[in-house]
């Protein structure tokens, strides 16, 4: 019987010839990651149990992302606590404020996660990295403390669901729309405990960044991990970036999948998840006209340079609608600099959008544009549960960057074509 890529990766990291779904293993991790919110609990767990020796300081990344720059006194104190730890152990992969950005955009950008690896992150969207052909999953802080101490993680080998996307994508359809559609089909817990493998010609036509958007959101279907086999697009992305040698792992033709989906995406319009669940998905035309108060372009889902370019191409020469706030937050410091160089930031500011330093910011209702009672936001991020971006009675629509930007210009949810006409404009 053939093996899925995930079985192969996990077997090789557990020192076994093969593993079966459902089996419990202790796997060796290649990288452990925590952020400013999850690191403190992990550090306290280590301290409480008197563990002072770290597994491998070269492989422990701490990325400040959520409440940076500090939003209040408590978050400043919390950051100081994690910073002190990073300095004490002299962690080379400590990314302080101004030196990194949102973790799931940063680690791929710096080539710190590569195909064939096992990456464990104390943040639920750590599943993002699987877009590069590796196993990665999100865990809590205590799990991460255990990896920091031993380099090992206990895992149940997941079953794999396979998604095959065929056809030709419409000009305004991106990775975000494929994953929103998928979540809408299988629902919020359709992939609970499972690995989601994405493939097919329509998927292969997507850039590395758009692919990372897809694996970013597997958790919104309950998934444990996402996987996209590395190909020439992946290798081109890794060139000059990859910090470690890598192995490309593929599922065997006769591998066993617990479910297989095969969809023709031709003619699908951009997708929107309506309040308050990521699986309340519909085509944008069905919700077109819904009033919004603010729009947010950013986050680990869609805060990359490609996303900013699309937004700028739509915004150029236009203005954000009166009474609407449009937050634009490049996901990393490097993306911000690139956007500056390309003149994108100027376009955003000219259009009266608000541009901020790299942070998660409003994605989790932290700061930089928190929603008030009954306010409605259209966001390029990944979650719209009640209260996610602010007040419990606020509402969030999730969409791709083009839809978010067009909606910021009109003040209601709309198709980008409503703003720029039929053809997609070049950035």
């Amino acid at each position: 019987m053939g093996q899925t890529a995930m079985q192969k990766i996990l077997a090789s990291h557990a020192g076994k010839k093969s593993v079966e779904p459902g089996e419990f293993i202790l796997a060796k991790a290649d990288l452990a990651m925590a952020n400013d919110v999850t690191a403190p609990i992990a550090i306290k767990a280590l301290e409480k149990h008197g563990i002072t020796k770290l597994w491998n300081k070269e492989r422990i990344a701490i990325v400040f992302s959520h409440f940076v720059p500090a939003k209040d006194i408590q978050s400043a104190a919390q950051a100081a606590f994690a910073r002190e730890f990073a300095h004490k152990y002299d962690l080379p992969l400590f990314f302080d404020e101004g030196r990194g950005g949102v973790e799931h955009s940063l680690l791929p950008e710096l080539g710190l996660v590569v195909p064939g690896e096992v990456v464990i992150g104390a943040d639920s969207h750590s599943c993002t990295y699987g877009g590069l052909g590796l196993f990665s999953t999100g865990v809590g802080s205590t799990d991460l403390a255990a990896v920091m101490a031993t380099g090992e993680i206990w895992l149940k080998v997941p079953e794999t669901m396979r998604f095959n996307y065929r056809g030709t994508l419409d000009p305004w359809v991106t990775g975000k729309d494929l994953i929103l559609y998928t979540i809408g089909q299988i629902t919020f817990d359709g992939a609970l405990y499972k690995n989601m493998e994405f493939t097919g010609p329509a998927l292969k036509s997507l850039s590395m960044e758009a692919r990372l958007t897809i694996t970013n959101m597997v958790i919104e279907a309950g998934g444990k991990s996402g996987f996209i086999e590395a190909d020439e697009v992946t290798e081109a992305y890794l060139k000059g970036r990859a910090k470690r040698p890598y192995t490309i792992v593929k599922s065997d033709p006769d591998a066993k999948f617990c479910a297989s989906y095969d969809w023709d995406m031709t003619g699908m319009e951009p997708q929107v998840a309506q309040p308050n669940l990521p699986d309340k998905v519909t085509g944008v035309s069905k919700v077109s006209g819904a009033k919004v108060h603010s729009a947010f372009l950013g986050s680990c889902t869609n805060g990359r340079i490609e996303d900013l370019r699309i937004a700028a191409s739509i915004l150029k020469g236009r203005k954000v609608a009166k009474g609407i706030r449009f937050m634009v937050i490049p996901a990393t410091q490097n993306i911000y600099r690139q956007a500056l160089k390309e003149g994108l930031i100027d376009i955003f500011m000219e259009a009266e959008a608000i541009v901020s330093a790299a942070t998660c910011g409003p994605c989790l209702g932290g700061h930089m544009g928190v929603l008030g009672p009954n306010e409605v936001c259209i966001s390029s991020s990944n979650r719209n549960f009640p209260g996610r971006m602010g007040h419990r009675d606020s509402q969030v629509y999730l969409a791709n960057p083009a839809v978010v930007t067009a909606s910021a210009i009109t003040g209601y949810v709309c198709h980008p074509e409503e703003v720029v006409g039929k053809k997609k404009v070049a950035a």
């Binding site: 767990a45 978050s75 639920s124 149940k156 669940l277 989790l364 996610r388």
Partner: protein
């Protein structure tokens, strides 16, 4: 034996509803406990007493990986959480920090807020005294039982480190 009153919640209660992000600036269990479940039910932190039982539908604890969520529940000294199903990371976090949970779709579906429950954690037996019904929850796989017996993940890790 855990004896307490049930507080019932719906499907997909995510960790933002268990503990909103604005409180993630602290890791103190008592402080977090004061805001536990407040998005879903603003009075919950004051109503529920130590030993009471949180009952939920499918996919409880989905969303963010924040361990602050089970810590806030533990901080309230609730007896346990019973759900139709748990989100994966939340499930792991509970096992790792020693917060008792049981997966039992029938018991979770039947229970209503205010029901008196009695739970034998070791045997996984849930008794709804109000409704006069008894249920058997799913048992943990042997590996997890080992973790639970060790008192959570960190004691287990220390044992492994000592053995190396």
């Amino acid at each position: 034996m855990i004896k307490g009153t049930a507080y019932k919640f719906g499907h997909n209660v995510d960790t933002d509803q268990i503990i909103p992000a604005k409180y993630l600036v602290t890791t103190d269990p008592k402080e977090l406990a004061q805001h536990c479940m407040e998005i879903a039910d603003a009075d919950f932190p004051r109503k529920a007493k130590p030993g009471d039982i949180l009952v939920a539908g499918r996919n409880f604890g989905c969303g963010s990986s924040r361990e602050h969520a089970p810590i806030s529940i533990k901080g309230m000294e609730l007896g346990l959480v019973i759900a139709e199903s748990f989100a994966r990371i939340f499930f792991r976090n509970c096992i790792n920090i020693g917060m008792p949970i049981l997966e039992c779709p029938e018991a979770a579906k039947d229970a209503e807020s205010g029901d008196k429950l009695e739970v034998d954690l070791d045997k996984g037996i849930i008794k709804n005294v109000t409704k006069g019904k008894t249920y058997q929850a799913q048992s943990f796989p042997p590996f997890m039982q080992e973790l639970i017996r060790a008192g959570g993940l960190m004691p287990f890790v220390k044992k492994r480190l000592a053995a190396q």
